[in-house]
Amino acid sequence: MTAISPRTTSLYSRHLAAGAKLGDFAGWQMPLDYGSPRSEHLAVRASVGMFDVSHMGQIEVAGRDARELLTWALTNNLGAIGPGQGQYTLMLTDDGGVIDDLIVYALLDRYMLVVNASNRNACWERIQECAAGRDVEIADRSDEVAMIALQGPEWMNALGPLVGSPSPLGLEYFEITEDMVAHVPALIARTGYTGEPGVEIMCPWESAPRVWDALLRGAVPAVPAGLVARDTLRTEMGYPLYGNELSRDRGPIAAVLSWACDTTKFGFAGAETVERDLANGVAEKLVGVIFDEPGIPRAGQDVLIGDRVVGVMSSGTLSPSLECGIGMAYIASEFAIVGTEIVVDVRGRKRQAHVARRPLVARSPRTD
């Protein structure tokens, strides 16, 4: 694909009307914030917010060998989910580096992979590669499918009046169903990236404005929230972000994602490395970080114990919930213990911090 100028989603005019500050993200013009990322963050924690995540990719896999293909191409135990269920999983290179982290949904007649915008092509190529010699039909639906994430404790009150039946409101975490939202046919999944309960709504590209407008004007209006708030929300939860915590240079064990790998069978691409890392241990591990004094950590900053550099920050921000610096870091495994006192070099200033349990902020009691 040769994207010359940044692409826009079908909600672009809605973002402009809402006063969004737009920025480039993985080749897309996306709303970074609508004036106050902090307020957007807190709205998601306290009531309900909505994010345009139409830039994410959707790849469908159908056919007789679909399950066999995805069992090989993805790390988690695909056998654990049946129609109407989704699963967080990883796609690895043959030598165990992470190509992407994604959610795979089992639908009645096919599987659907929801992948990061930045990795859409890489995932597509990898699936094609793994499909060779197998009886499968694969399709990239990314250009046809829009996606709105509705997140926050009030999500049911925001969505309830708009759905065609009560079934979306009864979904368990990671379940998915088809229904109407504001008279638009949609796939509704009980997933998200904020730590709050909520859903991700996938609908035809051109119908997204109708869903957005209905959520905006509902009895409990959803607050438009941008990618900056999405990032602070996921950082508070300690969720990895591809490009920060995940890359082809590190495997799932260092990222503390063994739970997303089928370690009973190891029958997936890249499994040798995962198995070896589990057996031998890894030099560095991903940890949560909370600052004990003012300052904001940023990705790439050194983590020290005494004068010794023991790691590097992979993400960092100011937590709107805790009102202090937080982030994640890869640090030498011997120090990857909750409570370990560390120092982060913030542009020459040494900030006291400690290794903290993830999530860094307690999840909403109404979360799963």
């Binding site: 914030d33 902090r38 900056v228 602070t232 003012p294 904001i296 921000t317 100011l318």
Partner: protein, 133 residues
């Protein structure tokens, strides 16, 4: 968020900092343009009271959720006060950049040097030029 304004009684530095002279003292802050570019400010790292600041050199940092921005001194001086209200509530820089969002009070080394900075007309022309670039 404040309306875009550039008061007449201030002088402006090309790094989008302003100075308000009061006798041999002055107040420093950042302009509407600077706070708009930075976005919602969430952290202010001020210099120590008693330290010296030098014209065109950075004296502190303002951070938004996503970015860090150096703050430049428009003139030489000694820090006699910092705005603790902004340390506690950095968003004041956005809501009132020329009032409650001031950053520093200094004793100027040479109050006359401030006249060499841009006035309102020159600064707004400078901003228009940036827009063309």
């Amino acid at each position: 968020m404040a309306e875009e304004t550039y008061p007449e009684d201030l002088r402006y530095h090309r790094e989008h900092d302003w100075v308000r002279v009061e006798g041999d003292e002055a107040i420093f802050g950042i302009t509407w343009f600077a706070q708009d570019a930075l976005g919602e400010v969430v952290f202010y790292e001020p210099p120590a009271v008693g330290s010296t600041v030098s014209a065109d050199a950075t004296y502190g940092e303002l951070e938004s959720v996503k970015a860090v921005s150096d703050i430049y001194a428009p003139a030489d001086g000694e820090v006699i006060a910092i705005n603790d209200a902004v340390v506690a509530s950095p968003g004041l820089v956005n809501s009132d950049p020329y009032g409650e969002g001031w950053l520093l009070r200094v004793r100027l080394t040479n109050p006359d040097a401030v006249s060499g900075l841009m006035d309102q007309a020159a600064y707004t022309a400078y901003l228009a030029g940036l827009g063309d670039a």
